[in-house]
């Protein structure tokens, strides 16, 4: 089977103006997403991982045009998303839907479940009531809710059920791409498994493509085909699931993986925990070189003076680190 690129993001940048020092001086910016590029094949899942403030959610929001990018290109199945006008965007959004983190605040408490799921169809305005009813009925079945629950309000559902409503709403317009922003991090572990299984089943049944944002590497490992690791607004490593977990190259990825507590005794014994001291640098006054240099256990002089570019080191496995040579050996193995 040939792989078809569904989403192509190039040099995406999002910046926020910040006031520093007062006066009328020149504006200074916080670059929340800095020159980020990636592709997702149809039917696959790309996960973006990183810690709070790394820019993963802002990247997702910018792809969906829920925040404005100041540069870059977002191409979904041949449609240049960033150049659409408002009306075109409204229609194009049918192909790109969002599942949010918090199932408590992302559903309108005044609407019944069926109205919430139907809303995207109402907004498209291309169907009559009977057609919409058929679709809503089918969606409730697909996400594992009972027909009689259609008339209930969000507060009458548990967290997991609410997330199912959010998923049904995202599926309503038959999108190609679904952006899942921490879809299970607000849920209890047992309910998490139910939602993750549902997402994978829907992906297989409907040939969905996911952009999956998460900080939980266990969940990511289970869900994705490829992974991009973000740190301070930049992608520092990008590769397939097996590349990244079995052969992490960037010292930050190594530290991140080594920090995940594991129930597997063999892994615990084989993993040397890499503690990264301190905090990330001030995002407004970034250091000259690599953004991770001040916390990196193996940083050298070049790391502090020159910013490394993201480059392909081995068959599509990309890393932004001066210390990774063409032999694709990590300077800081886990």
């Amino acid at each position: 089977m040939t792989k078809e690129i569904l989403l192509d993001v190039e040099n995406l940048g999002v910046r926020f103006a910040v006031k520093r020092g007062g006066g009328w001086g020149k504006a200074s910016y916080l670059y929340a997403v800095d020159d980020v590029s990636f592709e997702i094949n149809r039917g696959e899942t790309l996960a973006i991982v990183g810690e709070s403030g790394s820019g993963k959610t802002t990247t997702a929001l910018a792809v969906a045009r829920l925040v404005d990018a100041y540069q870059g290109k977002v191409d979904l199945d041949g449609t240049d998303f960033l150049s659409l006008d408002d009306e075109e965007l409204r229609l194009a959004r049918a192909k790109m839907q969002f599942i949010f983190q918090d199932p408590y605040s992302s559903l309108n408490p005044r609407l019944r479940a069926e109205q919430i799921v139907r809303e995207p169809l109402d907004s498209l305005g291309t169907m009559d009531e009977a057609e919409k009813k058929v679709i809503v009925d089918r969606l409730f079945g697909e996400v594992g809710l009972r027909p009689e629950q259609q008339r209930l309000f969000p507060h009458q559902f548990s967290g997991g059920q609410r997330q199912r409503i959010g998923i049904a709403r995202a599926l309503a317009t038959q999108p190609d791409l679904i952006i899942c922003d921490e879809p299970v991090s607000a849920l209890d572990v047992a309910v998490q498994a139910q939602i993750l299984n549902l997402l994978r089943k829907l992906q297989a049944d409907l040939n969905l493509t996911y952009l999956f944002i998460s900080h939980d590497l266990g969940v990511v490992q289970h869900m994705c085909d490829s992974i991009a690791v973000m740190y301070m607004g930049k992608i520092v490593e990008h590769g397939t699931r097996l590349d990244l977990f079995n052969n992490p190259l960037h010292p930050y990825t190594s530290a991140l993986l080594s920090a995940v507590p594991s129930v597997d005794k063999a892994r615990r014994e084989a993993t040397k925990r890499i503690l990264i001291p301190g905090d990330p640098p001030d995002p407004v006054n970034l250091p000259a070189g690599c953004r991770f240099a001040n916390r990196c256990p193996v940083a050298t002089d070049i790391c502090r003076s020159q910013e490394p570019a993201l480059r392909d080191v081995k068959g599509g496995h990309k890393v932004a680190c001066h210390l990774v040579g063409s032999d694709a050996v990590s300077p800081l193995p886990v």
Partner: protein
């Protein structure tokens, strides 16, 4: 040897609009000096209530210890006076909470908040307490402690705030530290730093740790023994590694296998996660004379619906409250 903390047949009742519910139902366990134990389970299973019960911090007028006993160093806590409890809290047993953002007072500097504890419990002078606050900040690895001691909580990151909480909790060198989801709000690399710090502190002071969490991985890293709670009851107890390798309660088994863990090698094969269907029962079902997990269990029989399972003992102190524990 007498254990440091002994909880026997503890029953904690909460008064709700619908009636009185036993949020902790006949819980017994022991904690030895220098031991670390973890409470695991989903939200609403009584993990935090156990901690609050031990601390004597149950919500006033709503929660009360209905029966049972909690003894610390041979002293009964359930009948102790408020004054005595206040002296035990902080001096002997202290607690760190989940939300480092909301459990510090925003209008006092972190130094004042640490010094306050030292002065209240050890009667040190203002100056001596301040000096000790700096030492404590240094001990929890806050860089430039001398400068940061006059910072307000908002000037610190989440991880630093949690370190301040740990510094406050450790100020009087307690014998027991209760950590209620200490890293849930934090990033994983910060979590690793906090775990490292807690282990280091434990080594130095010999304190016992009770950690409350929902993360089996964290349990495996931090604790020697674990207690799995379900709907206010102890579902299973035993040595951590033994339970992970051979759980004897279907709920424990579900909790371990429903999470996608990172194993020592990642394979291309991915199976659907084991689901534990349904959710924790409502408070009004707590205390019924049956197995409360029955509605979510795939091994359920009539016996489970008729009678609350008694605890079955296995090797090395492992216990399971399931009629079919032997077969799990």
């Amino acid at each position: 040897m007498e254990p440091l903390l002994k909880v026997e047949n503890l029953r904690i009742e909460l008064t709700t609009r619908a009636g009185i519910a036993p949020v902790i139902d006949n819980l017994s366990f022991e904690l030895g000096a220098g031991e670390s134990i973890s409470f695991v389970g989903e939200s609403g299973c009584g993990k935090s209530m156990t901690a609050l019960g031990i601390m004597g911090l149950l919500p006033e007028k709503v929660g009360r210890i209905a029966s049972g006993s909690i003894t610390f160093n041979g002293e009964e806590l359930t009948t102790a006076s408020e004054k005595r409890l206040r002296s035990i809290r902080g001096n002997d047993i202290s607690m760190i909470f989940q939300e480092p953002m909301t459990s510090l007072n925003p209008v006092y500097t972190v130094g004042e908040q640490i010094a306050e504890v030292i002065r209240a419990h050890q009667g040190l002078s203002r100056k001596a307490a301040w000096a000790q606050a700096i030492e404590l900040l240094d001990a929890v690895r806050i860089p430039n402690a001398k400068g940061r001691v006059s910072d307000y909580p908002f000037q610190m990151s989440g991880g630093q705030r949690q370190r301040v909480m740990i510094a406050i909790a450790l100020a009087c060198e307690p014998k027991i530290l209760i950590a209620d989801e200490p890293t849930t709000a934090l990033d994983v690399t910060v979590q690793a730093q906090i775990f490292d710090l807690l282990n280091e502190m434990k080594r130095q002071t010999g304190a016992s740790i009770i950690m409350i969490t929902h993360d089996m991985g964290a349990v495996a890293e931090m604790a020697e023994r674990m207690i799995v709670m379900y709907a206010g009851r102890k579902a299973e107890e035993g040595p951590v590694q033994q339970i992970i390798e051979h759980p004897r309660h279907p709920y424990t088994k579900g909790l371990i296998s429903c999470v996608p863990h990172i194993m020592s090698t990642i394979s291309t094969e991915r199976h659907p996660l084991t689901e534990v269907p349904g959710i924790v029962p409502g408070l009004m079902d707590f205390g019924k004379n049956r197995c409360l997990f029955a509605s979510r269990c795939n091994k359920v029989t009539q016996k489970c619906a008729d009678e609350r399972p008694s605890e079955m003992a296995f090797d090395a102190g492992q216990q399971s409250a399931c009629w079919y524990a032997q077969e799990v």
